[in-house]
């Protein structure tokens, strides 16, 4: 963690926008909400981290090849087109985009999943994909919220 949550808050307040959005710290938040219920000032830290992640994706300035925003985007895309997530397929896509060598290092895990019948290769999908897509696209009127830029 480059910056602690407290330092992130201080940097935001002091308007160090780039430092904050480029920081890996905001992506390290696993949304366990421990900070939110712990904060003596009742600051909703997890929600602020979400807001910063959204901003970083919107502006396309998150750390290069950093797997977490890539996962978020792959997730986003899969839900958009299928309506559901097929975890094993999602993880494979992540590995291909972020670090294909990781596939090799976790081959044993993959075999374990196949053995235990948890490896799913067929896409889970909903029936009414058109309805869902329509709903999600209905929210494009806002100029500010354009399709997330690809990370350079």
């Amino acid at each position: 963690m480059e910056h602690s949550p407290r330092q992130i808050m201080a940097l935001v307040r002091a308007d160090f926008k780039d430092e904050v959005l480029r920081s890996r710290s905001i992506w390290l938040c696993a949304s366990c909400y421990a900070c939110t219920v712990e904060c003596p000032r009742e600051i909703r830290i997890t929600d602020i981290m979400y807001a910063l992640k959204q901003r970083a994706i919107l502006e396309g300035i998150y750390p290069k090849r950093f797997p977490i925003p890539i996962l978020a985007k792959e997730f986003f895309k899969m839900v958009h087109s299928k309506g559901r997530i097929t975890e094993t397929l999602l993880v494979m896509r992540l590995f291909l985009r972020a670090n294909w060598r990781a596939v090799l290092s976790s081959w044993r895990q993959g075999i374990g999943l196949i053995r235990t019948g948890r490896f799913v290769l067929r896409h889970e999908r909903i029936e009414n994909r058109a309805q869902l897509a329509g709903m999600l696209d209905s929210d494009l009127h806002d100029e500010r919220r354009i399709t997330p830029k690809e990370a350079a």
């Binding site: 963690m1 407290r6 330092q7 003596p40």
Partner: protein, 666 residues
């Protein structure tokens, strides 16, 4: 509606105050004065920079003489601030002080508006209302009520003790009522006091003995105030005296009965040692207790619970026969003129923050528990040992436990920084252990306190700035095995640290007493949103309350240290003495009164009066109002179905003309 005035006689003087820029910066005062000039009866209309100044008051006095004025209106600040000042000026000018009306064009106008023209129009409307109203003002007299010279002090901690002694030394008779079996409060549990490190018992015990020895103090321990009636100068207080099953007059505190108790060892948590030691059902709270009288715990005593005990205690006390199982709760009624409430605080319950592990890990203790451990009269004879018997090699203090935290208490408890540093120094002195203090900010503003902080730093106590996230027992490294691990962000170093220690001390903050709301209602006081008793004015009346003759001192008003508590206790005693020595209070005549011939005796007003000032006269069957009890709230005036209750200074003609004045557009 006829008044006792002949209209032709009315000669009004109107004065508008600029209050520097406070009013003058927004309201066009000259224009207002000019506007008022034309109103009927107005003889003089002036604006002036500061009406409350001596020359301002002189202006009024002169004009009364020169222009034969008989009514005065001043438009300035809040009547709370200067009504008294101007009424005095009016009186000095030779008029009845109630031939005066004040208009608030500061708080009600210039401070809350930005549009100058509209603010000026509003000032004119308010001033006009007062000018129309003041024509109907009658001459009224204040009444005097004698003050009972005795004082009740509630709470026998250091604040209550000091207030009681101050009054008693001045020759006043004091009732000191304490809930526990002994006076002494929290201070009696302390080993040393910051920042001088002088022995707490050495300075408190003489004061406790002085209370016992002072003939002017009637000490009632194990007693609680049950009921308060009356008003400033004339309170009737009912005190519930709990049975201690030991005759206070006969017991000499020899404690042979305790020795003789059928319980050979202590079995129940000792309140004074915050549960770190055990006591018997029959006990004396602590060695220096005042009074030196034994008490029997009815929840624990075999005889009182089951009636089947050998009563070895009674045998042991055969010659004095002080033990009395037939004692019953008694109610005592006393008359006092003033009351000082010094009911103190309670400590934050550390279990409310589960991540600090209090109650889960035996070596997590509270600051008051450590206080008892370092005291030579404490359960370990002054040795700092952990619950497993070992002496700690490393100790950490966690500050702001239950303070400065929106989830528990938002306020700063003010004493924990200094208290913890004192304990840290004592831990170093007693054990040589490494001491780390985790703090948010060190708050050491008292005299000699910053220097004490410096000394702590020089003495090798480690300070880590950061709120502790959690106390755990899981280890990541061999050094952490078997220890308690504190996880905290060191905000100066900018890293998250794990620090393994043997013992953790939680500096628990102060909270209002659990029954503070009941006590507040008992004495008709107010509480702030946090539950501390509210002073009448945060700067100018810090020990007064909104109820005359009821004063507050010590931590029941808010967290504070011993010197501040003593200072408040002295101030409260002085306030009470000021009333006692004057001998009477003057009462505003803005009271309600019954026009007897119109009263139907319906009694609907009786239950409405918050001050129980209204009674039904047995012979006439009409309502009568005790002017001494009436606070002039007006509830009965508005409620009376026959319109037979009226109120001085709020007569119908006064109010209607005021309304007319506001609503008339120039």
């Amino acid at each position: 509606m006829k008044t006792n005035l002949t209209n032709g006689d009315i000669r009004i003087g109107f004065y508008i105050c600029h209050c520097g820029h406070n009013i003058g910066g927004v309201v066009d005062c000259t224009a207002v004065a000019h506007e008022i000039t034309g109103l009927p009866g107005v003889v003089v209309s002036r604006d002036y920079k500061y009406m409350c100044s001596d020359p301002g008051q002189e202006l009024i006095r002169n004009d009364i003489r020169e222009h034969a004025l008989n009514r005065i209106v001043v438009a300035s600040c809040s009547p709370l601030l200067h009504e008294h000042t101007f009424r005095n000026a009016v009186e000095a000018g030779g008029l009845n002080r109630y031939f005066f009306q004040m208009v608030n064009i500061r708080e009600h106008d210039s401070w809350v508006h930005t549009d100058h023209a509209k603010a000026t129009t509003k000032a004119v409307a308010l001033a006009r209302a007062a000018v129309l109203r003041v024509r109907f003002h009658r001459a009224l007299e204040t009444t005097r009520v004698a003050i009972h010279p005795d004082v009740l002090v509630v709470g026998g901690g250091i604040s209550g003790i000091h207030a009681a002694l101050t009054l008693a030394n001045a020759g006043k008779k004091v009732y000191l009522v304490e809930r526990d079996p002994s006076i002494g409060g929290h201070m009696a549990k302390f080993d040393k006091t910051f920042p001088t490190l002088d022995c707490a018992a050495c300075i408190l015990t003489p004061k406790m003995s002085a209370v016992r020895a002072n003939k002017n103090i009637k000490l009632w321990t194990y007693s609680e105030v049950a009921k308060v009636d009356g008003y400033v100068g004339n309170y009737t207080v009912t005190v519930r005296r709990k049975p201690r099953y030991v005759n206070e007059e006969l017991c000499i505190g020899c404690q042979e009965c305790i020795e003789a108790c059928v319980f050979k060892e202590g079995k129940y948590p000792d309140e004074f040692n915050v549960g770190l030691s055990k006591r018997k059902p029959i006990y004396i709270p602590f060695p220096q207790a005042v009074p030196q009288v034994v008490v029997i715990d009815p929840e624990r005593c075999l005889q009182l619970k089951s009636g089947r005990c050998k009563k070895t205690c009674v045998e042991a006390c055969a010659d004095r026969q002080a033990i009395d199982f037939t004692q019953k709760e008694e109610m005592a009624e006393i008359k006092v003129g003033n009351i000082i409430v010094a009911t103190g605080f309670k400590l934050f319950d550390a279990k409310r923050i589960p991540q600090y592990g209090y109650g889960l890990y035996p070596n997590v203790v509270t600051s008051i528990e450590l206080e008892r451990l370092v005291t030579s009269s404490g359960p370990t004879g002054g040795e700092i040992i952990m619950r497993d018997g070992r002496t700690p090699q490393s100790v950490a203090f966690v500050l702001c436990v239950g303070s400065r935290d929106f989830r528990t208490n938002r306020w700063c408890s003010r004493t924990c920084c200094m208290h913890s540093m004192k304990l840290a120094q004592l831990v170093r002195e007693h054990t040589g252990a490494d001491v780390t203090v985790f703090y948010l900010d060190i708050r050491a503003p008292g005299k000699g306190c910053e220097e004490f902080y410096d000394k702590s730093l020089k003495d090798g106590i480690q300070f880590v700035r950061g709120r502790v996230a959690e106390v755990t027992d899981w280890a990541l490294t061999p050094e952490e095995e078997g220890k308690l691990v504190i996880r905290a962000e060191d905000t100066l170093a900018g890293v998250v640290r794990r620090i393994p220690v043997d013992m953790i001390v939680l500096a628990v903050g102060m909270e209002p007493q659990a029954d503070s709301q009941a006590v507040r209602r008992l004495f008709n006081m107010s509480c702030g949103s946090e539950g501390w008793f509210l002073e009448k004015h945060p700067k100018l009346a810090p020990v007064s309350t909104f109820t005359d003759g009821v004063f507050i001192a010590g931590c029941c008003q808010g967290p504070k240290d011993i010197p501040d508590s003593i200072a408040q206790a002295g101030a409260a005693a002085a306030e009470a003495m000021a009333l006692i020595d004057r001998g009477y209070i003057e009462q505003e005549p803005n009271t309600a009164y019954v026009v007897e011939e119109d009263c139907s005796g319906c009694k609907s007003c009786l239950p409405l009066c918050p001050y129980t000032a209204i009674t039904l006269d047995g012979t006439t069957q009409k309502a009568t109002i005790n002017a001494a009890l009436c606070k002039g709230c007006g509830t009965c005036v508005a409620a009376c179905p026959s319109g037979s209750i009226r109120q001085h200074l709020f007569e119908d003609d006064e109010i209607f003309s005021e309304i007319e004045g506001v609503l008339t557009h120039a």
